[in-house]
């Protein structure tokens, strides 16, 4: 692929994604026995076909994906394989609903702010468990975060049948939060809420921090080459990794809090259709770059928003979209194997470099 070298990398990747979407997807649909053209038309109509589709479907769907993508990107950048954004999102959502339903708070206009802060803290705390296990007991975070995802899922299942269940005790879900506790809508006539702006601000802050601050440098150095960071840079690699881990969890928790205060207004078990896992794909497509995460989050948001229209109007099952996402990612990692910034492969999963020497 040397002849492609003069073209800037992000452009090459964008061209690749466009190629997959315009050639690979119709081909996939043909193989599965669907008419490609009506399906593609429905997908476009549902995601970009109107102002309402763009704001109320694509942008609303992109919001949690941008945040979980940022969460994953920050952790992976620091050499921490946090696969637990899903669980951190769920705990964030549960905590945000719990706080929003408190009698003293439910009518306060400060409520959304408090709910987001509490949700982020809960997500950070949930990731903190895995961070602690990694630093103190050398438990592989890939495994601990996945295990904690299941615990979080059962935890939500329990609270919506126990402490947070709606007063009639019929449905496994919480009460609906009061209007004052919801995130304000930012465009009249659409479902777009302030959470989208929050996601963009967080992305800009993350981009700035990783690129231009000392903490960001420590994070990148620890991820790119932990040995060199420790010896030459005198960086506390374990600490940098743990901080990135907790921040990553907090961002995923924020995503959950935004989802319940901006979209669902209540807590129930299937609140996330795998935002945490899709966030991994979002982050990878963006090559772990915060600005790129916004772009890939918007792309996946549009795909998933269009998927429901495709299922409704063209009869193509919406799960085909996760297949498309996976094909994009697999093609990408095969074409351009992801390297740390020092030109070596990403650090191994085992935390042997977490400062026990």
């Amino acid at each position: 692929m040397r002849w492609l070298a003069p073209i800037p990398a992000p452009l090459r990747r964008a061209a690749y994604v466009v190629a997959i979407l315009s050639i690979g997807v119709p081909l996939l649909l043909r193989v599965l026995g669907f008419e490609a053209l009506p399906a593609a038309a429905a997908l476009l109509r549902g995601s970009l076909g109107s102002g309402y589709a763009i704001t109320s479907a694509t942008l609303v769907r992109a919001t949690p994906l941008i945040l979980t993508g940022l969460s994953v990107a920050i952790a992976f950048r620091a050499g921490v394989f946090n696969i637990g954004a899903e669980g951190q999102l769920l705990t964030g959502a549960a905590a945000a609903v719990a706080v929003s339903l408190l009698p003293g708070l439910s009518h306060s206009h400060w409520n959304p702010v408090i709910a987001l802060a509490v949700g982020a803290s809960a997500g950070g705390l949930w990731a903190g468990i895995a961070a602690f296990l990694r630093v103190r007991f050398h438990v592989l975070e890939v495994i601990s975060t996945i295990l904690l995802n299941f615990v979080a899922l059962y935890l939500v299942g329990y609270v919506v049948r126990g402490p947070l269940q709606e007063p009639l005790h019929i449905y496994p879900q919480s009460s609906t939060i009061e209007a004052a506790a919801r995130l304000p809508r930012i465009l009249p006539g659409s479902r777009l809420h302030a959470g989208f702006l929050v996601a963009i601000v967080v992305a800009m802050a993350a981009w700035w921090t990783v690129r231009f601050t000392a903490a960001g440098f420590r994070l990148r150095a620890s991820g790119a080459n932990p040995e060199a960071a420790r010896i030459a840079g005198e960086i506390d690699v374990a600490r940098a990794g743990a901080s990135a881990f907790v921040v990553s969890g907090a961002i995923a928790g924020l995503a959950g809090a935004i989802e319940v205060t901006g979209v669902t207004f209540a807590l129930y078990e299937n609140i996330s259709p795998g935002y945490g896992y899709t966030g991994i794909a979002v982050a990878l497509l963006a090559r772990l770059d915060a600005a790129g995460v916004v772009a890939s989050g918007l792309l996946f948001g549009a795909l998933e928003a269009g998927a429901s229209a495709m299922q409704r109007d063209a009869g193509v099952p919406s799960v085909v979209v996760s297949m498309i996402e996976a094909v994009i990612i697999l093609g990408l990692i095969v074409a351009w194997p992801l390297q740390g910034s020092a030109g070596r492969p990403l650090p191994a999963a085992e935390p042997t470099h977490s400062g026990q020497q």
Binding site: G33, Y158, G162, G274, A326, P337
Partner: protein, 310 residues
């Protein structure tokens, strides 16, 4: 309920459920053990199991082959996914964790799409005849453990035999020694003339087949149907079991049993009518695995080059 306890059927049900739950876990984690001893980690195992489960459905119903063909197809499907993993990591030098994650996403989307395409948009529930039991005379009539250990589908016995077989393979065969050498020091192994790439590829494919069959077992001798995402984290659990079993076949077998027993506690709690919230019992195995991993601390030593790209 109370006379059930009097008859000791709760204990029988518990033992039976434990063996049933342990079977796919033993298959999947033994496969993962093999590749981890060769220095690879495939966290796409979840996707491998799911593909195997779907393969079993296709083999048993769509191709009308019953449970034997179903199991064969599930092994083949798992192998196919593992081949994808091998092509990306061994062939192109991609990161193993990232490739594994992408593979799981692919399998989730792929099986879901194919299922709805082949079997209708609503995914009407299908019933598959579960595999027949192979009852061993006399022994199967033992109290409590009789049914659990001696009246099981053939694949369960094979899964249990896999544990000592793997142990023997790793300890006493040339190929097993080569495999372990690769995991500890691939450069030295290569210098000594060990075909590193070929052994890693074969190990990956064998692990894929075992993971696929684990998925097939879920469909053919447990659920009797396919549900989207039915692997329900078993792939990740199997990886945790490998760590818990300290990368040793016997340890892995024991860890799989421990996990299965904790999972089966829900039946005991149900039967005894305990007032513990159901979801907390379901979360218990995951919490216990976490606690056990923490308890192992630094004492469990992974193969030296685990998850590193050469």
């Amino acid at each position: 309920m109370t006379d059930q306890i009097a008859n000791g059927t709760v204990a029988t049900a518990f033992a039976e459920a434990t063996v049933r739950t342990a079977t796919p876990l033993i298959l999947a984690s033994t496969g993962e053990l093999l590749i981890e001893r060769a220095g690879l980690i495939n966290i796409g195992l979840e996707g491998v199991i799911l593909s195997g489960a779907f393969g079993a459905l296709v083999g048993a119903t769509h191709w009308g082959g019953g449970s034997a063909l179903g199991l064969a197809v599930s092994g083949g499907a798992g192998m196919l996914i593992a081949l994808l993993f091998a092509a990306a990591t061994l062939g192109m030098g991609s990161d193993q964790i990232i490739t594994g994650t992408a593979i799981t996403l692919l399998a989730l989307g792929g099986t879901g799409t194919l299922y709805r395409t082949l079997y209708g948009a609503t995914g009407s529930s299908l019933a598959i005849d579960t595999a027949g039991r192979l009852t061993i005379p006399i022994l199967s009539r033992l109290p409590v453990v009789g049914v659990a250990f001696f009246a099981q589908p053939l694949i369960t016995y094979l899964a249990f035999l896999l544990i000592p077989a793997t142990w023997w393979f790793l300890e006493y065969t040339h190929a097993g020694l080569a495999l372990r050498a690769i995991g500890e020091n691939p450069t030295a192994a290569l210098t000594a003339g060990v075909p590193v790439l070929r052994i890693r590829l074969v190990a990956t494919l064998v692990a894929g087949a075992l993971g696929g069959v684990a998925g097939g077992v879920l469909v053919l001798s447990q659920a009797g149907t396919f549900v989207e995402g039915m692997s329900a984290g078993r792939g990740f659990i199997a990886i945790a079991i490998v760590v818990l079993g300290r990368w040793h076949p016997l340890g892995v077998g024991l860890a799989a049993f421990l996990f299965a027993a904790t999972t089966s506690l829900q039946y005991v709690a149900q039967a005894l009518g305990l007032a513990v919230p159901y979801q907390l019992i379901l979360a218990l195995p995951y919490l216990l695995t976490l606690a056990a991993l923490a308890g192992l601390g630094g004492r469990a030593t992974p193969p030296a080059t685990l998850a590193r790209v050469e």
